[in-house]
Amino acid sequence: MALLEVRDLSISFPGGSGRGSALSKAVDGVSFDVEAGQVAGLVGESGSGKSVTSLAVMGLLPHTARVSGSASFDGRDLLAVPERELEGVRGREVAMVFQDPMTSLNPVVTVGTQITEVLRRHTGASRRAARDEAGELLARVGIPAPVRRLREYPHQLSGGMRQRAMIAIALACSPKLLIADEPTTALDVTIQAQVLELMGDLVRERGTAMLLITHDLGVVAGLCDTVTVMYSGRVVERADRHELFARPRHRYTSGLLASVPRLDAPRGQRLQPIPGTPRDVIGWDAGCAFAPRCSAADDACRGTELPLVSDGARDRHLLRCAHPVPDQHDQHDQHDQHDQHDQQERSA
């Protein structure tokens, strides 16, 4: 049994585009696992529902949100436990790192207090012990002069340093699962790699599992063991990292990979942008949400509800696509095919 098993998670918010009572669906029937000690990537475009998924697991969605499904963590359904019990789980067993380190720390409380607060809340450590522990944590995440930094306020730290402090706070009580929601998106490019490497090292050395949310496939390639690809609130493909990068089957995933510069691509190969824009609200009744942007779309994609099924022989590779990319070992052929298809469409 996996450490975190999310099953059939659906999330809607009141007041969609329709009438007053209408609900707008942000996430629809999402399932994925995070194995103990592993890093699971959750990838998707802006608005695909990655953040609301993670907030639902933490029980941190606004009260207006309607949530169904289950998220069993260590055998306990986090979506069903009472708020009071959940408070004891948060920070101690599951912790979270957010996207924007500039706003995710309390501006009027010192960094040290923000760490010791969590330690004392969950471990009952004395003020002194918590203080010492906090210093060690800051040192571990690579903040120079940690003891001095404890007394400083967040604005006295740079963005990268703040994100390191956030990581220290999240890992303070050695949680079993760390959820990181685009932890490096707001950082300078030069710092992104350092922070990612730090996170990878930390979870590996502590045996912490991590759910890494990102829209950056480069991040996934570097850190994740498994990858779940979301599009418009649904899981469209799921596989181990190597499998996904070697054989993307869903048209969206393959498009996503083709649009990212790759070091192993032959010189002169053009990048392939995915045409169109993602839809921010889920407005279809059945079928593939990617159809309006997909060059292979036909009636089979639009009419019926497509299930998330395993890909033939590979039962760890799941996908939801009526016309998957042919399972070819040479991806470049596939690209050319794709290219021709696109050109035909455009000239038509």
Binding site: E45, S46, M58, L60, L86, E87, G88, V89, R90, G91, R92, A95, M96, F98, D100, M102, T103, S104, L105, N106, P107, V108, V109, Q114, E117, V118, R121, H122, Y153, P154, H155, Q156, S158, G159, M166, I169, A170, T185, A186, L187, D188, V189, H215, D216, G255, L256, S259, V260, L271, P273, I274, P275, G276, T277, P278
Partner: protein, 308 residues
């Protein structure tokens, strides 16, 4: 032509803006901005002068307050003008005018500060309950606040004076009760605004207890507007103290010097000796102006929108 390459999501590499900092830096930069604002300096100077006079009244005043001088020379139609021992002359009851003004500052400060503190405390409790807990607590508390708001403050002052007698404490309570809804609403609003911020979500994600989140995270971040309001409220409180005693609802003890009552006493001599009314009127106006200037400057300095 929407060939948008969105596969990488939104480009959001925000370079850290040195000024885009939170309240820790907010207070610091507010202080810098205050020092550069002439209105703030003028306000602060007036407030400082008022505080000094109030605190050191016995050292500054030439005499004792409320003690009519023997053979004062006050007649029904005139009061003695300035003389060596009495730089501003005498007041209509035959007391030294400067002494009355100086001790009046003390009385205004005392009642103003105590009533504002009471109003702030009451408003803070209600505001924290409403803004921190939300839900039905919020609804109930805000209805109570609405009821408080609907009582005219003058009526309230009359009732309090009737129940407790004409004592300084009645004045304080009357003024404080009128302030409670203002502070409660302000703090509630400012806490509600804070509740949506990222750091609150982050502390919740760490399992910090709700009470702790409210008291040590939301509250300290919500105090800025409340401090500004308290400064402004001091100005109104000082005017109200005077107004209430002008209406005969203030302290009835004739030996306490009070600017409002000095105005009352000066009324009958307005045509012959207008300075008896002008001096306390001037003191009330300038003190209130000082607090208002300072409060407004503080509001501007703390307003994140105005920060460059």
């Amino acid at each position: 032509m929407t060939q948008v390459s969105d596969a990488l999501g939104p480009a959001a590499p925000t370079t850290p803006d040195p000024d885009a900092v939170g309240s820790g830096g907010l207070w610091h930069s507010a202080w810098r901005r205050l020092r550069r604002n002439p209105a703030a300096i003028a306000g602060a100077a007036i407030v400082a002068l008022f505080l000094l006079v109030a605190v050191f009244a016995p050292l500054i005043a030439p005499g004792q307050p409320g003690v009519p001088l023997p053979n004062s020379g006050v007649t029904p139609s005139s009061v003695p003008g300035p003389s060596p021992g009495h730089p501003l002359g005498l007041d209509s009851p035959g007391t030294d005018l400067l002494t009355q003004l100086v001790y009046g500052a003390r009385q205004s400060l005392l009642i103003g500060v105590v009533s504002t503190a009471l109003g702030l405390a009451g408003g803070a409790v209600l505001g924290v309950l409403a803004g921190g807990l939300g839900g039905w607590v919020d609804v109930v508390v805000m209805r109570v606040v609405d009821i408080l708001l609907s009582i005219p403050s003058l009526l309230l002052a009359v009732s309090v004076a009737a129940v407790l007698g004409q004592r300084p404490v009645s004045v304080m309570i009357a003024i404080a009760v009128a302030q409670v809804p203002i502070f409660a609403r302000l703090l509630r609003g400012s806490m509600l605004a804070q509740r949506g911020s990222d750091y609150v979500l982050a502390v919740h994600s760490l399992g910090v207890r709700r009470r702790t989140v409210v008291m040590s995270h939301l509250l300290p971040n919500s105090l800025g507007p409340v401090i500004v309001q308290a400064t402004l409220t001091l100005a109104t409180a000082i005017i109200e103290v005077a107004a209430l005693s002008y209406l005969g609802l203030g302290d009835s003890n004739p030996s306490t010097a009070e600017w409002g009552r000095m105005l009352v006493n000066a009324q009958s001599r307005l045509s012959t000796d207008p300075h008896l009314a002008l001096w306390p009127g001037f003191c009330i106006a300038v003190t209130a102006l000082g607090f208002t200037l300072f409060g407004e400057a503080l509001r501007e300095a703390l307003d994140p929108k105005g920060r460059k």
